[in-house]
Symmetry: D2
Subunit: 478 residues, 4 copies
């Protein structure tokens, strides 16, 4: 409604000008907020109400051809939506994002969808910078989860480096990440980690030697990871960047749930100062921004490289991950997101403290893993394990799940795993040498203090149940 | 609510047993319908109401761990959803589909999401069969649009045929399809079409010779297309299948919007009878089922091959395309979908008749393209074209768009196009030899008679505007 | 969004001006439609989409103080809404309608709610006129169902006629209507109907005599009814108006579901020509406009009188009935509503034809009730009735209900009823003299042909079950 | 979904039994919660999620005939709902509440709507008791705002006391309350308040004398008020009850927004101990429970009397006020509501403290009104008032409103008011003798500390603007 509409309403319906003036003020303020958002393309300080966000989405939808009054469609793809239930959940936006040539390009028939897409990418860039990667130059939301987004980056790297066959992979026992290499048709070269005390760190020496051995041109990139399960630490991105830069090999970072951690973001910022060219970091939308699974963010320090990746994608894509992210970011505002991140940080300490107490009570240890800002691990060395195969140990995971605890991982150190012909010992622990079983837990964004309390109580009960009678034990993990 | 709850409500609140019995009957009937759906996994004859569909989705969501009362999450991915607006549009389903190993696998924490995913795939299989591909053995919804879904199939083919470098591509001037080959890292080998009268057909001879020349093992697959813009016909899938089978090269069919056409589905069924092994056909969810852009369906005649493709995908994915499709299919029922398909068929004839009239009025011709069941083309040979570069001709497209007609394509025959180093003449026309300009229009599912009326009127006006004074002309298209 | 916002979006986000211009056109068209609606205050010819209606409601809500950004409330009634679920279902509108003095007055804090209220009343006035009561001068939606709305009118009549004690009531066996008199504190004077053939008609003679007997000033009004169950006919409003006018007694018409019938509306229009002063007709929103129960429309030919009624109401009221009506009317458009009314008319004939057939088959009769345009009655004279108390007959109603038929009424002619001390014979039949049992059914707006088919089939089965062996019987109803 | 459905889903779709068992547990827990709610009919301790509430509403709707699969309607009122937007906002519930005879009765076609209605009444009864009126025996939600609900009670009193003509009204300057008497057709007898210091109290002496003068049988009831604007105190309900009981005159209490105040609730509880027979107290749903305007709660200590009132209402009514209340109460839980009430209490102190500071700064006074637990008043004696008519003073209200402060009331003491022939001096102040102008503000439920801060700042500015140069003044209010 325009202020003119409102004035018209007033006189036509006999509503006094005082009330109409106030309504006009409110309406002008609304238009001003939208103009500000479009001009600044930054996350507002204070989040918007759901109604305001929804109204904006409905207004954007009005800009798409499928919602034009009097439009007639004679193409094969006119964004006709049959179900009203589907129409509503998409706020009338049906054209998706991108076009055949580029995920970030404007769609001819869909000025509204295109605005939403571009705006969301701009807001995400703002958040990435505010969370610590100040030098980030560009990013885009890709409507595929992290694994497939890594594959997309690798497919772009293939075009960049047509002679490359290998991807150097600093081991992280997460199947999606490993499979993203295979899916892209590269041969993974596994760089085993090195153990320092309880913690598992990047093996810079082996990376260097492997580059020399295989030859830099044969290597598409070095694939490193920040956020991961303890006792693995975030990779030494800076160390890797120095090597990578000297050999002119790109680094691709799996920063899956690292935006929520200032430490991970700091590592990335520092890495970018050393090597910005063709460096890419990829993160999940659901794990960092509390939206449903389905999107990832591809970001980097080099605008033209990020554009090349978005141009690799053939065709259009779902706008749902962008829409979910847009809604969530607009709803939080930058203050809201920073508050969530801050809370997570303090819950991480709370979780460490309480897990330490439970561990001690049962004669176990909380591992020392300073390099991991999100996940932590407690040894399970005293669990009765009659057959030596860790059955009883791994049962702890399902015992916890049955008691309503989700998200823990129990590592027995006994799992042999083969993925498309490649063998891993002690799968899940990121390290062939793992001996002592352990359990991991994470303090991730969106967690509450109540989650910790419930978890610790239930873990205590389960451990009491499975533990051998207590004796003095000095645990050495991994 | 269970019948017991209802009985309880009755006696507690003083509601007479007659009404309670009726309510119980309604409730039992509801449970019976759900049981039937889960057991049969076929599309219901008659569609369900939006409320019933939504209630079922909410019940499925209740089966996911993020909605368990008393659940505590200590993982990095707990499907926490911050915004209520986002939560609602996903009906509380946040875990996405698939897991690291396989798009079709069950998720540990998400029995509801997994049920939805599996059920949708089963319903889609039912539809594909009912629409004519009776021998289809398996299919799955992949939350990426058609182009990227073709890339996924090609990446799976790479694993199957590690020595392959080429994809034989029966030319279709649609950028996404071509780029899907490049994205997957293959070298496209363009098989130019042959002209038969107005129509452009598959060049079987050249396909055969190219296979022989390059060697079958070097070829990942032959990529053919059914649904396309006239005057191109659907590819001769059966002819290609015979060649492909004899050389043991798989065929990958881009059936983008072919489910809506019994002709395209018949071609696929016949193809499957000749070569079922590793044959794949891919279709868009939005173009066939009137949902927003974002999903594709990968289908085939060979269960284990389809499974291999789904296992190629690394990680989870958005459940939105499956959800949209589930809602739409359940809302239509098989009768509803068949009705839409039937209407499309008769609107195709209506569009032909009316376009023929307009064409004649302006001294133009409707091209004879019997092999294309969806799209049609009208010559624009009499449009004044002073500079011979077709500027005036191509302006017709924007003139129509400005007048609210979306979906036509104007082909001047003058467009030179280069995609990642490969050159195309007369881009958009599928054929280097195109001389006469033309305009295409399509009768696609969801179109209405009103669309045709508006289009034909507006086209008439635009042609009147741009046409040279009428003289006797015998047009020869392409 | 304003056109300026859009231009800003275009340049800021790199969206080409062509698409932005189209979006601006769409936006201007949207503002133009709103302006037109507010200026004309007539129902649009063609209905609006749900999204457009919802967007308009959200924009109206933005005009209410509870949605002003930066508002602070220090009153006891600030339209704070706790639940988001409640907020959403009211589109953010919380202030209700009316103020202490008048249901139709503007609320200080709620320009949006007030606009919605006034606009709805204007649209309803337009519909009433278009449906035949051309001379209607004013009307308003009152958020109470018909019975309580009649009470409100009676309470206004009490103020108008402070010496009145009686309401003359042309008998209609509907409890709410009768109770509305008692609730208002008047003494009902029952005017029994007269039977003409099958049909029951208004007893003008008795009305006249009663007025003379009691004295006009002692009578608050004559309460008549149009829409009713057969075999009662719509009251002879014109005849009553002549008497009423001559004695200066107002007429109050219970036009409960009469807007859907051109016949009822015609009667009202003709009545208004004879007596417009203090004449009131009341109708249900749910029965005429397919919305949930909860509202009524008070209308008349005399603006100041209608205003007096609205001023009788003390305080504010729910805006839900107005909102439901607004949505439904805007969604239908005048064409949509007229189509529904037209369909009803032809379904009335269909129902008569098919009921006639079933009746004949079972040796019963469809009563001749030309004066009732909505309801009809079939005799049940041959139903076995061993005890002569009609138990078997009245069981037919529940047998039908159990078989999924709702809305029939079975009249045995045996029901004695006492309401607050007043006695009625053959309750339900509007007439003490009813002998032959019968069943009524109605062709009301929103009914479908399928409803008729199902009903007739089920009725046939039930009658087959309960009928005495067929013999030749000549029925005489009532 | 039943546990059997789930088991079926598991085996049919290949979902492992572990996940299915967990889903079954969640489902059983859900059914258990519903059963508990229906059996106990008490507000849950902890509120439910919006999704759970909505699912329950959808399940209730399934029990109504309009949602039965295979139902055919041949009545005039079948709860057909045309607009999907309307259908959704009512969760499919369309039959409203009550039936012709009784607002609280079960509807034949609508077991679900009836359950919702009865359950809501039960939950409200629970809240009223928990908030302090332990002896409350029955209550019901009436879908009319407080004023009209008072009228309904008065109409019921008319039946109870057929010879009564008067209502004794302890003056409260709120138009709705006064008009409720006129609407019901009674003659109000105004009992002026007495001033005690700053505060205005009930004039028990005059009530007693008036009863004696008019005779008890001629009096329908004594209408008192608890929640009101300062400096009026809540009426002395106990004192009135003693008089009322001795004369056998019922008391009707306007407890508009008193549920939120333990003090008001205590007064009512104590009153009930003295006189329970035919005593009624009425309260607003929106003001006490943060729902949109539209409902009131009629409650009392005498089940049969409350039933008589609900039976006075003729016909059905909107279920929206009950639905809003049900959603809000279920969403809050008893803990949530108590927390809101607790917060209000402490904000009341905060508002007093801050208003006191502002008042002092400007040489004004916060009035001493211990008997009013919600509203407070600040003198405006120093405002420049050149014409002595209070224009400048009353401008303060609009100045505040323009600055985004809603809910204050400015009383000049100069307003003469005539309502339907009755005259009031100093209207708005509850007292003819008011001399000093003042401004009221209230700490009502749902208010936040931020509201107070903004208000006090803005008030300070406005006062600075309008004040005469400060001199030493001793204010005496009223």
């Amino acid at each position: 409604m325009t202020p003119e509409n409102l004035a018209g309403a007033g006189s036509a319906l006999g509503i006094s000008s005082t009330y109409i003036h106030q309504a006009q003020d409110a309406q002008r303020e609304w238009h001003r907020r939208i103009a500000h958002l479009l001009q600044q393309r930054k996350l507002p300080e204070i989040g918007w109400s759901d109604t305001d966000i929804e109204t904006l989405l409905l207004e954007l939808a009005r800009m798409d051809s499928n919602n034009f009054p009097g439009n007639c469609g004679v193409g094969e793809r006119e964004s006709r939506i049959h179900s009203q239930l589907v129409y509503r959940r998409h706020f009338g936006l049906g054209h998706g994002i991108g076009r055949s040539g580029d995920l970030c390009e404007v769609q001819p028939k869909a000025a509204g969808s295109s605005t939403l897409n571009k705006l969301t990418n701009a807001l995400v860039l703002d958040v990435i910078r505010q969370m610590g990667v100040r030098s980030c130059q560009d990013c885009f939301v890709v409507p595929m989860a992290t694994g497939m987004a890594l594959t997309l980056c690798l497919l772009a790297l293939r075009k960049l480096r047509p002679h490359a066959k290998y991807v150097l992979w600093s081991r992280i026992d997460q199947k999606s990440c490993f499979k993203s290499i295979l899916c892209a048709g590269f041969t993974p070269v596994i760089i085993e980690l090195v153990s320092k005390g309880d913690q598992l760190d990047t093996n810079l020496t082996e990376i260097d030697q492997t580059i020399l051995k295989l030859g830099p041109e044969s290597i598409a990139c070095i694939l490193t990871t920040t956020s991961c399960f303890a006792p693995r630490a975030a990779d030494d991105l800076v160390g890797v960047a120095k090597l990578a830069q000297s050999h002119d090999v790109p680094q691709l970072v799996n920063n899956a749930y690292g935006i929520q951690s200032s430490k991970c973001m700091h590592l990335i910022e520092e890495m970018g100062k050393i090597q910005s060219n063709h460096t890419t970091f990829v993160q999940s939308t659901d794990k960092n921004f509390l939206v449903p699974v389905g999107g990832a963010i591809v970001a980097g320090f080099d605008k033209s490289w990020i554009k090349q990746i978005s141009q690799t994608y053939p065709g259009r894509a779902s706008s749902t991950p962008s829409t979910d992210l847009f809604i969530t970011l607009m709803s939080l505002g930058i203050q809201g997101y920073k508050k969530l991140v801050q809370e997570r940080k303090s819950l991480f300490q709370e979780l460490r403290t309480k897990l330490h107490q439970v561990a001690e009570k049962h004669g176990e240890r909380l591992l020392e893993t300073k390099g991991n800002p999100i996940s932590m691990a407690v040894t399970l060395s005293r669990v009765v394990d009659p057959d030596g195969q860790g059955k009883q140990v791994s049962a702890i995971g399902s015992m916890l799940f049955t008691r309503g605890v989700s998200g823990t991982r129990v590592i027995t150190g006994k799992d042999e795993k083969s993925i498309e012909g490649l063998q891993f010992s002690a799968w899940g622990s990121h390290w062939n040498g793992t001996q002592t079983p352990y359990l991991t837990a994470a303090a991730a964004i969106g967690m509450t203090s109540k989650d910790i309390d419930l978890f610790v109580k239930r873990l205590d009960k389960v451990l009491t149940h499975v533990m051998a009678p207590k004796t003095h034990v000095a645990n050495k993990a991994c």
